[in-house]
């Protein structure tokens, strides 16, 4: 369906912005009042356990900044840039509906449940609200999620280094630059603002150097007998993350975050201004007539775009750190729901870059998205080229603008890998604890090595050529595990809502939708892998399918049990609740579910 050629990207952005506003204004208000029954007088864990360190009542605007920067990253760029293969209409529709009716419910709900359970993390909550098996299920799902996160981002960075050799010098020099910044702040204890702005200026000045001296590892790959240069980069990246994930956060990760925070705003400004100044129009079909044999957009669109429509990872942030700092329970609406809206906005920007920026005509666009393998292999490159065109609208030379966009994406992806390996190490240690294997739970070297080697293996799976690779299916498996994480979090939320005697449909509908789509996609992919005799991805897919079935069974059992236990009247809302009913439904939870207490923001219990 070719209706897109005349639509200015700017108009699409405005329409999406209006829909997001309406979602926040009305649907999140409904969730706050009728579903989660937020009580501004409830004593949040930030007050109850206030230690000034982990638990700190925090201004909601401050907390939103922390929450948003913890959830916004490279993932909402990659999925949408692939998914426009089915046309920008389905991609944007899923982003908008997913953000409003799934991600908002999920991110906001995880925060609300955690706050009512002493700000416990979603893994612990799965065990408390559902049962001990759900906690183990969460552990396995999150293990696969992080494995695939690290694998796909290694491939993304490797591909970008191969396609943009001018980005190598800026990205490599960014590491000592960030370390220098960290040491400077630590020694002088001064403001990081000006030094980090200087760091960004140096980084972008290095784009000129990188452009003059592009670094390619083609020769090294040839000498080593490695068929694809990307794989050399992948090995180097994992060697780097093995080291980076073990050094203290303040040495590299935190100062690079300072630089990245400027880059995020610069990139958003470039995209926004570039779209307005250039008035680029979308050069892609609304619904693409995909070649025969391509994956159909039902169900694959819904797992290709995970982050940007709904991401299970957000439940870890909502429950892991944000819930410990929530000043008033009612702030959960602004912080949680708006975090989802922010992520959806990033995904919308990715769709516009991959449809309006990257191609001057629909024929150009068709050449970039001829089939799914090419579309998925080149998606991030298309996003980079699209952003470069927007930057070019602002009079930045196209070759430098391309490196600039690549540097921004790689910076975020590298930070995701650094922290992803670190987080995977925690999960490996948790598994070691569960299995009683001390070498896993206590030995950092062993745990880190496992956290690195498994995704490294996944990233090096032989593909069908540089562009094709198996990146698209690897990405889909990542999306599937992310959706399963969201499914588990939504199950916890739905059970909690039901036990409070409230209508759980707002959580059940996205939960059912996600479980159907992920199971459907897993079955189709499993058949494809078996037919292709892919004996690496087929067992992995089968294993994730077993996890999906396990999740469906656990969610069904927990919901049935919660439905039987539900109180006759709704509880815990607006100071009129019946805390005993909640306590009865959650006997192990303790005081923080005790419901409303005196005074706004719970100051009486400080």
């Amino acid at each position: 369906m070719d209706l897109g050629a005349a639509v200015p990207a700017f108009v699409v952005a405005v329409v999406v912005g209006v829909l997001f506003f309406l979602g926040y204004r009305y649907y999140s208000s409904y969730l706050a009042r009728k579903v989660y029954a937020l009580d501004p007088a409830f004593v949040t864990p930030a007050h109850e356990f206030n230690d000034g360190n982990d638990f700190v009542p925090t201004n909601k605007h401050v907390l939103f900044g922390h929450h948003f920067t913890s959830v916004a990253g490279a993932a909402p760029i990659v999925g949408p840039a692939i998914a426009v293969f089915w046309g920008w209409g389905p991609a944007l529709t899923w982003i908008v509906l997913g953000t409003i009716f799934a991600a908002g419910v999920h991110d906001f709900g995880a925060l609300a449940v955690s706050v009512r359970h002493k700000a416990k993390s979603i893994g612990t909550l799965a065990g408390e609200v559902i049962n001990g098996r759900a906690r183990r299920l969460f552990l396995v799902i999150i293990f696969f999620l992080l494995t695939l996160v690290n694998a796909v981002f290694a491939v993304v960075i490797g591909n970008l280094f191969v396609a943009n050799p001018g980005a190598v010098i800026p990205i490599v020099v960014e590491i000592p630059l960030a370390i220098g910044l960290g040491v400077y702040i630590y020694r002088t204890r001064s403001s990081a603002l000006l030094p980090s702005i200087a760091g960004v200026i140096v980084l972008y000045a290095l784009i000129l150097v990188g452009n003059a001296f592009p670094i390619s590892l083609d020769g090294l790959a040839e000498a080593l007998g490695v068929e694809q240069t990307r794989n050399v980069w992948v090995v180097l990246l994992f060697a780097y993350t093995w080291i980076a994930s073990r050094i203290p956060v303040w040495v590299l990760l935190q100062p690079r975050d300072y630089i990245n925070s400027h880059q995020l705003f610069i990139a958003l400004a470039v995209i926004g201004l570039g779209v307005i100044v250039g008035m680029n129009t979308i050069q892609a079909p609304v619904v693409n007539d995909v070649p025969e044999g391509s994956p159909s957009f039902f169900p694959f669109l819904f797992i290709t775009i995970a982050c940007g429509a709904i991401s299970g990872f957000h439940s870890l942030v909502s429950s892991g750190t944000t819930s410990k700092q929530l000043d008033k329970e009612s702030d959960a609406r602004y912080v949680g729901y708006m975090g989802a809206v922010g992520e959806g906005s990033l995904a919308t920007g990715a769709v516009l870059a991959a449809t309006a920026g990257v191609a001057a005509s629909q024929a150009d666009w068709d050449a970039l998205y001829p089939d799914f393998a090419t579309a998925s292999g080149g998606a991030v490159g298309n996003f980079v080229d699209g952003v470069a065109v927007f930057a070019n609208n602002l009079a930045i030379p196209l070759d430098l603008a391309t490196i600039f966009a690549a540097v921004v994406v790689i910076s975020f992806a590298a930070t995701t890998m650094d922290t992803g390996v670190r987080l995977q190490r925690y999960v490996v240690q948790e598994i070691g604890e569960l299995l009683g294997v001390k070498a896993l739970s206590r030995n950092l070297t062993v745990a880190t090595t496992i956290a690195v080697v498994i995704p490294l293996g996944m990233a090096l799976i032989p593909g069908e050529g540089e562009a094709g690779y198996t990146f698209g299916v690897l990405w889909q498996l990542f999306g599937t595990t992310n959706q399963l994480t969201a499914g588990l979090a939504l199950s916890v939320i739905a059970v909690w809502i039901t036990r409070r005697g409230r209508n759980p449909l707002a959580a059940l509908i996205p939960l059912a939708f996600l479980l159907v789509m992920t199971s459907w996609a897993l079955i189709v992919n499993l058949r494809n892998f078996i037919e292709a005799e892919d004996w690496v991805l087929a067992p992995l897919d089968a294993l994730i399918f077993v996890l999906a079935i396990w999740l469906i069974v656990e969610a069904g059992l927990a919901l049935r049990s919660a439905y039987r236990e539900r109180p006759v009247a709704p509880v815990g809302g607006f100071g009129t609740g019946e805390p005993d009913a909640v306590a009865k439904a959650n006997p192990e939870v303790g005081d923080s579910t005790a419901g409303p207490t005196e005074g706004p923001a719970g100051r009486a219990r400080r």
């Binding site: 416990k120 935190q254 995701t416």
Partner: protein
């Protein structure tokens, strides 16, 4: 809310980072032999003392030093309200942005290092008493 006290976290405070889908967070609480305890931030003890001693209508905020989007307008607006302009305002904003800073309604009482909790409480109370 009559006054706002802002504490800027130290340089070793845990950061977010990572974005979707990873970050410096803990997926589980507690943990056994592998418990990942967050680094102790110097603002903790000062925060606890301030919160304990100050009346409830005085807000005490703990802010990351990288949260410039919130800190810069806060410091600039408060500085201008106190009549600061030009270089004096720039110096004040820069001092307030430093790690381990203590700010009362835009007045930077400590920058680059916090006094001990009792001294911090005394300094804040003295500043508030001036109003």
């Amino acid at each position: 809310m009559t006054s706002r006290v802002v504490l800027v976290r130290g340089s070793r405070a845990a950061g977010g980072g990572g974005g979707c889908c990873s970050g410096d967070i803990r997926p589980f609480d507690g943990g056994g032999s592998h418990a990942h305890v967050p680094p102790e931030d110097p603002v903790s003890s000062v925060y606890r003392a301030l919160r304990q001693e100050l009346p409830p209508d005085v807000a005490v905020e703990v802010v990351s030093p990288s949260n410039w989007l919130w800190l810069v307008p806060e410091l600039t607006t408060a500085g201008r309200r106190r009549g600061l302009r030009g270089a004096a305002l720039r110096r004040s904003v820069r001092a307030g942005l430093a790690v381990e800073s203590l700010i009362v309604d835009g007045v930077v009482l400590a920058s680059g290092g916090l006094p001990d909790p009792a001294a911090a409480v005394a300094a804040v109370e003295a500043e508030l008493a001036l109003r």
